[in-house]
Symmetry: C2
Subunit: 426 residues, 2 copies
């Protein structure tokens, strides 16, 4: 099926701001609460949210085989499980309906009123119910930086790292959408020079600049997904902030990996941008340094050129961008991650989320965490209004943004923005 929704010369009859992340070529998918307190699946063009459930009820998808309630869901899981043919048909049809040359909906004031919402009329929800969440560790620069600080500067990258996309299982229950605040976590940490841990609020609260992909139902228990097939099981991507408490993490993580240092919260952008929409921004990732085992060898371009940034906004000051990175720096591709994850027969379900790991570039202004930007807290990061930070403080708001841009079109992810609240009081 063609990706005609991607046509860069298409224009919409909706009034769309210049340089929007959501031109008619994007057509992401999300879940929102409408002004009438109804949960629906929708998409977004410019600053309009579009109720796909209402469009379907009004008959605008009659040529696509869809169940009646496919959009009247509080998650995208069932829609995603319907498979790539359905996603593409719906995306193409939305592009057609909102095309400046299509009169069908444009001239129907009543229907337009039913299906269109301004952003302040809706409340974005988690787009999927995450069955399982995996966090990879696929930026060589980040893994090297952390290895230098947490372990041995001379052998920062562990022997397995260049042979496989290392990852671990994270906690699904604490993944929240943009806008939901997160309390500073408490836990055990080891004071310098002591061998007895103390209990208290983390003093090293950090963000991690990541992206995540969302899968569809795929393999059976026992059945691997071949690396060259992997993308057909990927629905789309979101921005992902993997909140981390470095002092908790450092004390707990040997030998079983991060646990309470991570599972108090992750924040995601609410609109899932389809892999289809990202097609024009396909690029090659870094060349493998070691010869890969056959199940990880890929031929085509499997990465994407996505500009990423993080800003911090202290309570009474303007926000300031503190780092800029790019998804294409990732050493391991999503295809390699998914092939590796399933090579042992681990099954993947619709709505699973797989995060990239912190995306750091090679220069200090592209590092994807405070741990790296402040080099383990040894220096400060300057913010607006004379503020400076080694880690994140209470009432700071951290915002991740991401977009792709070429000379024809911009496809963006919007943002994931999260305020940190003080420790929860019972």
């Amino acid at each position: 099926m063609s990706l005609k929704a991607n046509n860069p010369s298409r224009k919409t009859w909706l009034d769309v701001p210049d340089n929007t992340d959501f031109p008619i070529q994007n057509i992401p998918f999300g879940v929102f609460l409408t002004r009438d307190d109804i949960i629906t699946i929708g998409t977004r063009i410019g600053d309009f949210a579009i109720d796909l459930g209402a469009l379907h009820q009004l008959g605008y998808f009659k040529d696509i085989p869809l169940t009646d309630d496919i959009f009247l869901q509080d998650t995208l899981n069932d829609f995603i499980a319907d498979g790539r043919k359905t996603w593409r048909s719906v995306r193409n049809r939305v592009a057609e309906l909102f095309d400046v040359n299509t009169d069908e909906l444009k001239s129907n004031e009543k229907d337009k009123e039913t299906v269109l919402f301004t952003l302040d009329e809706i409340e974005m929800q988690m787009p999927v119910q995450v069955g399982d969440y995996t966090d990879f560790y696929s930026s060589k620069e980040h893994a090297t930086n952390v290895g230098k600080m947490f372990r041995d500067p001379e052998n920062a990258l562990l022997p397995n790292w260049l042979h496989a996309p290392i990852g671990y299982h994270g906690r699904s229950s604490s993944i929240v959408p943009s806008g939901i605040p997160i309390h500073r976590p408490q836990g055990q940490k080891l004071p310098k020079g002591s061998d007895e841990p103390i209990f208290g609020p983390t003093r090293q609260l950090d963000f991690e600049l990541e992206m995540a992909f969302i899968t569809t139902d795929s393999n059976l228990l026992g059945e691997p997904i071949p690396v060259e097939d992997a993308e057909s099981y990927i629905f789309g991507m979101v921005l992902f902030n993997d909140w981390s408490a470095r002092d908790l993490q450092k004390w707990e993580y040997v030998p079983l990996g991060p646990f309470l240092g991570k599972n108090f919260g992750c924040s995601v952008s609410p609109w899932i941008v389809t892999l289809d929409a990202l097609e024009p921004f396909r690029v090659e990732g870094p060349k493998p340094i070691k010869k890969l085992l056959p199940y990880l060898q890929t031929t085509d371009k499997k990465s994407f050129d996505i500009n990423l940034s993080v800003s911090i906004k202290p309570e009474n000051t303007d926000e300031m961008v503190i780092t800029k990175s790019n998804f294409k720096y990732m050493y391991w591709s999503m295809s390699q991650q998914l092939a590796h994850h399933t090579v042992n027969g681990c099954p993947v379900n619709s709505g699973d989320m797989m995060a990239s790991g912190t995306i750091s570039g090679s220069t200090p202004d592209s590092y994807g965490s405070m741990l790296e930007l402040s080099w383990g807290g040894s220096k400060t990061v300057k913010l607006n209004g004379g503020e400076e930070r080694r880690y994140i403080e209470d009432n700071d708001t951290v915002t991740l943004r991401g977009y792709c841009q070429n000379h024809e079109v911009r496809i963006g992810f919007g943002e994931v923005s999260t305020k940190i609240l003080p420790v929860f009081k019972l």
Copy 2:
């Protein structure tokens, strides 16, 4: 509310074998497919499965406030979310209905035919949809044994271990009920003396003798569960086999913990035995060696005396019990695990599963894994028919069993039995 279902002198009008794991004092909960291909929530007394959905439709629960479809579900999640008062009311009512002195159902042949099934008429399903699965590492003997073999014999137990119940997130998607076979996984492993990994089937396939508890909805994002309250959020327990591929695990697990060495499968017993049913078997666990931080300090008996065993059955030979252990050996209690898991604000949902980690005793005949029984493959374990094993072979069936027994009553878990199939062929 009283636990009158526990009354040890109660007898049932059903014909129940001596020494059953499921006397009328047990009343576990599970999900099964009936002879009419209907999924329902049920319980078990002796060798009868009882359709609670049908009992409810026939009006036998009319004095308990329950929604009409509470038992007509394909998982226990909603029932569990209803809370402890509901579980107790239903369990007490079932005990009453099947009491030898209650005539109501006993004398109604038509209703009996509708609600009672023999075990060969049903097919047990996963009892819950597991939102998140956590695996702890709470047996001191197991952690010490593994530390000796994987790391440093002189410092086998890591510094954090005595201060907190160490755990990690596992994969929910590959948890299957007893009876579902599991394929031998493939993956990367490092040959001795080499620094280049090879790909192939695991040669060190292992079981882990564990138990898991299932939680109900509890805390909000940000809100810890106090250790003394923790049990009120625990619905019940199952036997849990955490399949492990030691060669894959050893190569991949530093620094982020076990991943593909674990996530190809876990097997659980299908009947959830409520914490209420285990009440008569409450015991104290081991005394803490280090002074605990206040959030982990407990007063009462928080462990349970549950006899555990593992048997191996090669394809054409009788099974043989190869180890016997006990849940009471666990250094960290379920209450401490749940308090620790949530102390940073991590939310817990109905249907989450938290496994104990391998339960090993202090003597070699009580070790809970082949890794320990064969001491890293350095010696063999003798089976029936002249067979011997260092690890698990294709077509072996591994069965975990567990029960509590005092002079009045036996409360058992049945079994979780899993056959290992050869590597999956595409």
